[in-house]
Symmetry: C2
């Protein structure tokens, strides 16, 4: 068989993993997926992921690709590999893509979700997916603040220290804060995100929502480039990678709505 490039959409519960990227001394999602694909195809497999999610971060729509000479039909990879994966990792869809497609470098945007739960007591059922706030969160004030993110800005202040990226300009076209009961949901969509950027945005919005930080911090930080204008990074477990966008014909429609 000729070599084919296969694109996968992957969902995982990040609770029990050291993040997406393969590591020496801890189990990462990439390693589990590569080992399952190697058992399936009988050959060495390298999986290229769109986003290196941190330990504890979840994904409903991680995107990755690998090359294979296997004869398995492209759309059947999802079914086949799921029989070899643990229940906290599921391949949602698989398809063949052109050989110049790259899950990471072909990306034109991503959508992330951050979930808060504001109540006097922490929740039990949502303890792995929602960051708890004992302070009530003013979601309208958070939305007004989040509006400052929209557009193309230099987000230098929003990168975790130690980041080595040169170009820190990113475009954000969606930043929505909505409430349902005690759940406060942030959805951000943009061209790309610096390391920890969504968790820094979420933590700043949380601090503004609880009154700990004065409104205007996001705009100020965009102007000054100073990380100290922003709030404390929100915990990993509230974050979920929802979808990765490409300029590919979407014959199959969006794979994760």
């Amino acid at each position: 068989m000729p070599m084919r490039r296969i694109h996968l959409i992957v969902e995982y519960d990040g609770t029990n993993y050291a993040g997406w990227q393969r590591q020496l001394n801890a189990l990462a999602v990439q390693q589990v997926l590569e080992e399952a694909l190697e058992r399936l195809t009988g050959a060495r497999v390298v999986v290229h992921g769109a986003s290196r999610t941190d330990a504890g971060v979840h994904a409903l729509g991680q995107s990755c690709h690998f090359d294979t000479e296997s004869r398995i039909p492209a759309d059947k990879f999802s079914y086949a590999v799921n029989t070899l994966l643990p229940p906290d990792i599921r391949v949602r869809a698989s398809r063949e893509v052109p050989p110049d497609f790259h899950a990471r470098f072909s990306t034109v945007g991503k959508r992330y979700r951050y979930l808060f739960y504001d109540d006097r007591h922490a929740g039990a059922l949502n303890r792995f997916t929602h960051a708890h706030s004992i302070y009530p969160l003013e979601d309208r004030r958070m939305q007004a603040e989040a509006d400052a993110l929209i557009g193309a800005h230099d987000f230098a202040a929003f990168a975790a220290s130690g980041s080595v990226v040169k170009d820190t300009v990113r475009t954000i076209w969606r930043a929505d804060v909505t409430r349902s009961g005690h759940d406060v949901k942030l959805i951000v969509e943009g061209s790309g995100f610096l390391y920890n950027m969504v968790r820094i945005i979420a933590g700043t919005l949380r601090d503004i929502g609880s009154g700990k930080l004065a409104p205007g911090a996001l705009r100020r930080a965009i102007d000054t480039g100073d990380r100290l204008d922003l709030g404390v990074t929100a915990p990993a477990h509230g974050l979920t990678l929802m979808e990765v966008f490409y300029d590919l014909p979407e014959a199959a429609g969006r794979m994760n709505e």
Copy 2:
């Protein structure tokens, strides 16, 4: 201190418990809660729960009471006992109630939620809260079927075999089926439910939604009293006890919306 009766609203993730009721050879939520309250009050505590949820079943609003001579203010029990409980059990609220209040016998109604996820592949993040259906579920057909539940009926057919309850008449005043993406949610509210009744209703609606069972099964089973007219009992982990209702003045408002 005189003896006081304290009412608790309890949330738990039922995944790692053998259900609510204390057992000899497996860990139940009741036992964990009693042991925490005994450490807190320094005296033996017996907790009376409103509903004996099965292994794997969750609760956002389990209701229970206990008697104590402790000096801890009634509304502070929730904070104090939460420091002694594992993170998969949380007391959401506590208050003093009259000595003739009984969490189980004073009940005038309950609300349950059942969650399905219909997609080609099972989910990873929702694997402990949603029952997976590989068949698409026709939620409008399920809603039309669920309408037959409304009213006072003899639900003899809806009790798990081995049930010893004599009076099998119950009143259901709400049975709503709604969809959001691949999530199909059933909410049922009624005066009371026989053992496994909600899971039998959920399983029947699932089988009607997938086309496995012909519409009309619920009404037929109400008429015939025959368990065989109904679908297979839906799995425990899709079920959550949402709220228990009482004829008490709701000074504190609903404790679980």
